[in-house]
Symmetry: C2
Subunit: 269 residues, 2 copies
Amino acid sequence: MMEEKLIFITNDDGIQALGIRTLAHLMSRLGKVVVVAPDSARSGAGCSISSTTPIELCKWEGFGDLDTDPLLPAKGEHDIEYFTCTGTPVDCVKIAHEQVLHATPDLVVSGINHGDNASVSVHYSGTVGAVIEATLKGWSSIAFSFQGFKKRPDFSPFFDSIVKIAEHILQHRLPPYECLNVNFPEVEKLQGTRVARMAKGLWTGEWSSAHNPHGKNMFWLTGAFNNLEPEQTDTDCWALEHGYASITPIQLDMTAYDSLEMLRKYLNS
Amino acid sequence: MMEEKLIFITNDDGIQALGIRTLAHLMSRLGKVVVVAPDSARSGAGCSISSTTPIELCKWEGFGDLDTDPLLPAKGEHDIEYFTCTGTPVDCVKIAHEQVLHATPDLVVSGINHGDNASVSVHYSGTVGAVIEATLKGWSSIAFSFQGFKKRPDFSPFFDSIVKIAEHILQHRLPPYECLNVNFPEVEKLQGTRVARMAKGLWTGEWSSAHNPHGKNMFWLTGAFNNLEPEQTDTDCWALEHGYASITPIQLDMTAYDSLEMLRKYLNS
């Protein structure tokens, strides 16, 4: 008999998001699932950690076999356990490691994020942040995100791709210090999947000013994303714009190796 | 007459930290300085953004010419303006861009962080997060951090290096999508500077458990850093351990280019 696989799941939209419940059901077809997710939304958390406040970890009894939302895929044969914590997505991975899992997961998946994490959004994303943390721990990890912002999106066009990508990584793993960033377009029928690089992009018009009830001027983060290389067909943004899921391998060693020699000439002393 | 340079400064330790006041004084020798810093500490903020709460921006009148702390270097001839905001380090850069600077800075510096940001700490660091954001905006940017955690460290052994590195980048700039991550060791006399790559590293023993006054079990983030390649002499950790400042060029395109082809074979559809 094959040993049961262990799959760890987290996100940045919080335990109640449809995206993470979708992943839990899909992954329970492949192995035993343990979920540790933030107790509420942590969008834009990046790789942040709770360095100055303590956090709480709780068993979550809210779903389990009772989760019969019609938008969810059918559960698989393996068990799902849910926990919440009051920290960031990276905290969820760190606390799962030492306080919950007590074993090395065969796979980590994060998401499905409500809102895509293509291009430079990788840097801001808590969904990707969690996967970076899991990868630092040596675990094969995949971030899944979806272009739309609806609270109750229909993820069913992506069920097959999610399972296929997860099965592939369970079988082949990923190189050390690398993870996958997968984004799904807002479409009813997927054109296919494209392995793609991060597009160069820029957010502009980032602040909306408004007075609070006490007359104080406050700034809300907003903005529009601009793909700076819309003609290039090998980017994640191009894939999404053309109805494909993008799959981007992400490396955690951020050293700009090409610049080391030049800088050494001037700055070594 | 040469045009006055514009230098933007932020950090993650907050406006009152000695590190940012040190940078402001040093940079005022090179150009007009504008500081927008968090109103209090945001350690471990990474690239996080305030996506769900509005933030405030305030002019800060606390220092200016009155900042005569004996640990500070002498101010230069150029003006310094200080602002605070209630957001993250990345928010500071974003709000400076649209609401404060009204011009492209010639240089951005972040820090001096109290605590080093070598190896994988790059991912968690708000000091580096701010510099990543500034780099995304096309600005030449440098993160400065210091290995010690004293509240009032003596940064004077590093004054000359900080000015030299800043002058070099002001003159030569950096390639697009690249920034510098500079770390100083806890020493009284610097051995020199080393351009170095990110060491592979891992945090372990990350949680300390304690009951709060109401008897609830809480977890505090803590842990020990392990350099996973202590024999390698070309890393930032090696430099710091041997009394050198490390200078690491960081690239923002995190695509794992070497893995694209292999993954395309299996995952394109």
